[in-house]
């Protein structure tokens, strides 16, 4: 085989290796960030012991999980119990293949990129369902059943929300979608805000996050499908969950938030925003250095300084393409580096919204969740698709200007949403009637 | 492209496995799964020939077959649930009276 035949495969394989190697670390640090955000919202500090400000906590957790005794329940279906977490993780990781982290960093730009991500990540549900079933425990089984019903329901509305954005983009390729937003200069969140809202809600439900975390609702089902899992397998489920968060956040970023584009990318007046990433990193570095003397132990001081230095290096990398002459090789790498920064920045912001919602809201009940999904989100997403189609038709067929047709259709969608909300409230009857029925039957446990 | 005969062989093998499943298994759910195998075998043929001929129409039919499989699975599983609720069995040879 000659070298030329191999070359196109080298870079994707390299990216794939990097992603697979880094992902557990990233997931671990998302957990740390989540705990820190939670602590901040709950007037406490969060992990502070391992490393300065708990920065090494994920590694300590990982070691703990790896060293834990691996318990397989005696009556479990061993094969399925063993394989189920792997299915979840594999599906989540495969989905990353088509994500465009900046214009250059992408494993594969598929023609059907977006559908591929959707399809592969929808396979992750098997891991949850089979894991719950194989544990041979009622809590796990209920978690699995809830999960199956919930994911299938919310995939519908998520899919419809995505269709709306796809109508605007006119392509399924992730790169093409971002390109389209770049060309028109409008992120799709402004053109289809209702679609974004639907996708936000549905993606929370799809990743089993509060307030939709029915499958693992800890106060009801102990830990849902993960009840019988411990140690490394449990860690795999966690990895899958956080990878899925990254995946849905990436889809939302690509579809609605302009992908790797800087805000106001086409307006030269906002070019100063290019200096924001390095300045941000420098600010973080400054914070690290300011905190360094306050660390209690010598090692922690050194670690904190190292983190600060790392941030400075990143800032240098970010500023380098702008500092060197315009036509050098480094300058041409600017879209790639800055694109990656903005993409990850948006993904992080989206995940932050997830966390924010999680620590603010109580949990839905399962029937309320299903009612919300089927009676509100699905109809609304269908209306949304129709309205976007209408706006495009008015614009393209009848020549209405953009600024009339799109706002008009957004308003119409919102009216439909309000109508759905109003009728939904009317039908939302409390459980009173069924309580009476239950009392009449009087079936004690030991009938 | 691999010679079309190999695709046909694969398709026939899956069809045969599906038929064996339908004929020999007692569990209705596995029988339904065997039906899915057979439908899948058809799809392989359709898509392979669509590639051979260079027209996507074969793929259209594959999509229709998947739609059909979805409908069949939904109704079939609905029947199984209803039956299980009444008779507490999923074995095909116990479904021998047409009423209960």
């Amino acid at each position: 085989m000659n070298l030329n035949a191999i070359i196109p495969y080298i870079l994707p394989v390299l990216f794939a290796l990097v992603i697979v190697a880094l992902l557990p670390l990233v997931a671990g640090y998302i957990v740390l960030v989540e705990r820190k955000v939670m602590a901040d919202m709950q007037v406490r500090l969060g992990p502070m012991r391992v490393g300065p400000h708990g920065l090494l906590q994920p590694i300590a957790d990982a070691v703990k999980l790896l060293l834990k005794e691996d318990i397989i329940p005696e009556s479990a279906d061993k094969l399925v119990f063993w394989g189920a977490p792997l299915i979840s993780v594999t599906a989540a990781m495969l989905a990353l293949a088509a994500l465009p982290i900046g214009p250059f960093f992408q494993i594969a730009d598929l023609n059907i990129g977006l559908l591929y991500i959707l399809g592969i990540s929808s396979l992750g549900i098997f891991g949850i369902v089979l894991g719950g079933w194989a544990s041979n425990s009622h809590y796990s089984l209920m978690g699995a059943l809830r999960s199956a019903a919930q994911l299938v329901s919310y995939e519908t509305s998520a899919g419809m929300a995505i269709v709306g954005a796809l109508l605007l983009a006119g392509t399924l390729s992730t790169r093409g979608i971002v390109q389209e937003q770049s060309d028109t200069g409008w992120w799709f969140i402004f053109v289809a805000p209702v679609g974004f809202f639907i996708y936000l809600v549905a993606s929370i439900a799809e990743t089993n996050r509060a307030p939709f975390d029915m499958p693992e609702a800890e106060s009801e089902l102990v830990a849902g499908y993960m009840t019988e899992y411990s140690g490394f397998r449990w860690a795999l489920y966690f990895l899958a969950e956080y990878t899925n968060m990254v995946v849905v956040a990436s889809i939302a970023t690509t579809l609605f938030l302009g992908g790797w584009m800087r805000p106001f990318a086409n307006t030269p007046a906002f070019n100063f925003l290019d200096y924001l990433p390095p300045l941000l990193m420098l600010w973080v570095a400054g914070y690290c250095f300011r905190r360094t003397p306050k660390q209690p132990v010598q090692v922690q001081k050194m670690f904190m300084a190292a983190v600060g230095l790392l941030c400075i290096v990143v800032a240098l990398v970010l500023i380098m393409p702008m500092a060197v002459p315009r036509d050098s090789f480094l300058a041409t790498s600017k879209p790639g580096i800055h694109g990656a920064f903005w993409f990850l920045f948006k993904v992080a912001a989206y995940i932050y919204v997830f966390m924010w919602l999680r620590f603010t809201f109580p949990r839905y009940r399962f029937d309320q969740l299903m009612r919300l999904g089927w009676q509100f989100l699905v109809p609304l997403s269908i209306v949304n698709v129709m309205m976007i189609g209408l706006a495009l038709a008015l614009h393209r067929q009848f020549g209405w200007p953009n600024w009339i047709s799109f706002p008009l259709c957004i308003v119409l969608t919102l009216i439909a949403g309000g109508f759905l909300l109003a009728t939904g409230e009317k039908h939302e009857h409390p459980f009173v009637g069924e309580v009476g029925e239950g009392q009449e039957e009087e079936t004690p446990v030991h009938a | 492209m691999v010679p079309i005969g190999h695709y046909i062989f694969l398709s026939v093998a899956m069809l045969a496995i599906g038929i064996v499943g339908i004929v020999t298994r007692r569990n209705v759910i596995i029988i339904l799964m065997s039906v899915e195998l057979i439908l899948n075998a058809v799809n392989i043929n359709l898509v392979a020939f669509s590639r051979l001929v260079g027209s996507v129409e074969g793929q259209i039919f594959a999509i229709f077959i998947i739609t059909d499989a979805a409908a069949e699975a939904a109704v079939g599983l609905g029947i199984i649930i209803a039956f299980f609720r009444n008779r507490e069995t999923v074995l095909a040879d116990e479904m021998d009276i047409l009423k209960w």
Binding site: L79, L151 | M14, I17, I19, R26, S55, F64, A73, A74
Partner: protein, 168 residues
């Protein structure tokens, strides 16, 4: 070369999984292997430049229909069913049917060996861009079947809901 390796890999996987589907005692394991069989088939579709059918197979078949299967398997309590005899005594019938099928295929291949193995495939570009072409045929030439399929799905949905509802 790569093309063929991919095909044989997925074909082997599909056949092995299919055999496991009909031979496993446990319905959940059968379902798992059916998923692998379907995914292997999806891989073959991708190898045949049928991207859209590939994704439909993954999303609808593996992600949708099979979840339904697993869901139902878990709903109907299998603890009892697992201890019952899983196979009836119709191996003989199955053998005959398979033999007949094999004979037919052998005959067909014998008759048309030439065309089956030599016939050149059309250029892959004729199927590009796949999604657009599929969409064109689906919404243009096959509009009526498409709508009929949607009605079929609706009817199936209503039927499934009515059937699985608690008290009819």
């Amino acid at each position: 070369m790569l093309d063929q390796a991919v095909f044989y890999f997925f074909a082997t996987m599909a056949i092995v999984s299919a055999i496991l589907v009909v031979t496993r005692r446990n319905a959940v394991q059968s379902a798992i292997f059916l998923v692998t069989a379907l995914l292997a088939t999806a891989g073959i579709f991708l190898n045949l430049n049928a991207e859209f059918v590939f994704i439909v197979q993954v999303i609808l078949y593996a992600g949708g229909i099979m979840v339904l299967f697993v869901f139902v398997i878990m709903l109907v309590n299998l603890d009892v069913a697992l201890h019952q005899v899983q196979f009836n005594r119709q191996w003989f019938v199955a053998l005959i049917i398979s033999a007949v099928l094999a004979a037919q295929v052998a005959a067909a291949i014998a008759v048309s060996r030439h065309s089956l193995y030599i016939m050149p495939a059309a250029a892959p570009e004729t199927l590009e861009p796949n999604t657009e072409r599929v969409a064109f045929y689906l919404f243009h030439t096959y509009m009526l079947p498409f709508e009929l399929a949607s009605i079929l799905l609706l009817v199936a949905m209503v039927g499934a809901v009515v059937m699985a509802k608690k008290r009819v």
